[in-house]
């Protein structure tokens, strides 16, 4: 009985996992289908913002998938397909915007953050080293006192 329940669960869960937007398109080979999937995964739906057109059920996303497919069949390159959709719907549809003067900060922020962090770490280390050399933990007077105390203890212990 538990086995039947388990199998039923597996079947149900698989059903959910594969219930994505299913359009019927024919591809020449596996590579072309993969190319199509990659393209629709990095194009953003203008209607259902924050969904790509692969996931979106909006009619406009369907039209965009159709266009991608048709252009692909017509022999267009990825660049050309994306450009044609950007020409209609604007830069918004790119999930990976081009690197230019407007998107410079967007792309550069992670690098800036990493270098900023490294800079802080370096400054902290250099400062603590310099501080260590200039003002040792014990002054000369204190050191002499400690030496004296230690030697006294040694003498006391041996006798």
């Amino acid at each position: 009985m538990p086995r039947i329940v388990f199998i039923a669960l597996v079947v149900l869960i698989c059903g959910v996992a594969t219930a994505e937007v299913a359009d019927v398109y024919d591809f020449e080979d596996r590579a072309q289908e993969q190319r199509y999937q990659n393209l629709i995964a990095e194009l953003r739906c203008p209607k259902c913002q924050n969904q790509n057109i692969a996931d979106s059920n909006a009619p406009i996303a369907k039209d965009m998938r159709d266009e991608v497919y048709q252009m692909m069949k017509g022999g267009a390159g990825n660049q050309e397909i994306v450009e044609s959709l950007v020409g209609r719907f604007g830069e918004f549809v790119r999930y990976k915007p081009e690197f230019d003067s407007r998107t410079f900060l967007l792309w550069a922020t992670p690098v800036i953050a990493v270098f900023g962090g490294l800079l802080v770490v370096v400054v902290v280390i250099v400062r603590s080293r310099r501080a260590g050399a200039e003002s040792p933990a014990l002054s000369a007077e204190e050191k002499a006192r400690v030496d004296r105390m230690l030697s006294e203890k040694e003498q006391g212990g041996s006798s």
Partner: protein
């Protein structure tokens, strides 16, 4: 120097606050049209009222127009319809309709019942011109100059406020200049 560093977190918090505050009230669903400054895309589609006539982009030449994208399936289009009637009748605005992903019978019944504010209506049942215009919902309204170049896109319903604040000044400018 040490004193200054103590204020650093405050400065960062203020900077983040300013950036976030600037975003409040902005509607992220309103996107700038990619077609602003470009001519209306080429098309060849049937006239809604006269199925035998073909319309193309030369429709937009000679007069500054509004291109209103609508469909009978779109509840918000019903909302703005009375305002479009008002614009056409009281203000004498030339409005060209783009009947988007609709069917002819329904559209004609709708116009019969509610009035027809359009100078011409392009019948686009498959949404091909809509797609080329970057329409991602209805209603949308484009302002097009007398040379057939897209000047502005308004996403959403047109009402008196939109007309007075945005569309009227723009149309006046276009008519004054041309």
């Amino acid at each position: 120097m040490k004193r200054f560093l103590l204020f650093l977190p405050l400065l960062v918090a203020v900077a983040v606050g300013v950036v976030l505050f600037a975003g409040i009230g902005k509607d992220p669903t309103r996107l700038e049209s990619a077609l602003v400054g470009k001519p209306v895309p080429e098309f060849s589609l049937r006239d809604l009222r006269n199925p035998d006539d073909l319309l193309d982009q030369s429709l937009f030449r000679g007069q500054a127009t509004l291109l209103n994208v609508w469909g009978t399936w779109c509840p918000a289009c019903r909302d703005e319809h009375d305002d479009l009637m008002w614009l056409a009748e009281e203000k004498g605005v030339a409005i060209i309709g783009l009947n988007y992903k609709d069917n002819r019978e329904d559209a004609l019944v709708w116009l019969d019942r509610l009035g027809d504010p359009y100078r011409d209506i392009i019948y686009d049942p498959k949404g091909t011109l809509g797609f080329d215009l970057g329409v991602y919902g209805a209603p949308e309204t484009f302002v097009i100059d007398a040379g057939g170049v897209v000047r502005y896109r308004h996403v959403g319903v047109i009402n008196e406020a939109v007309w007075e604040q945005t569309l009227q000044p723009l149309l006046n400018e276009l008519q004054g200049g041309g």
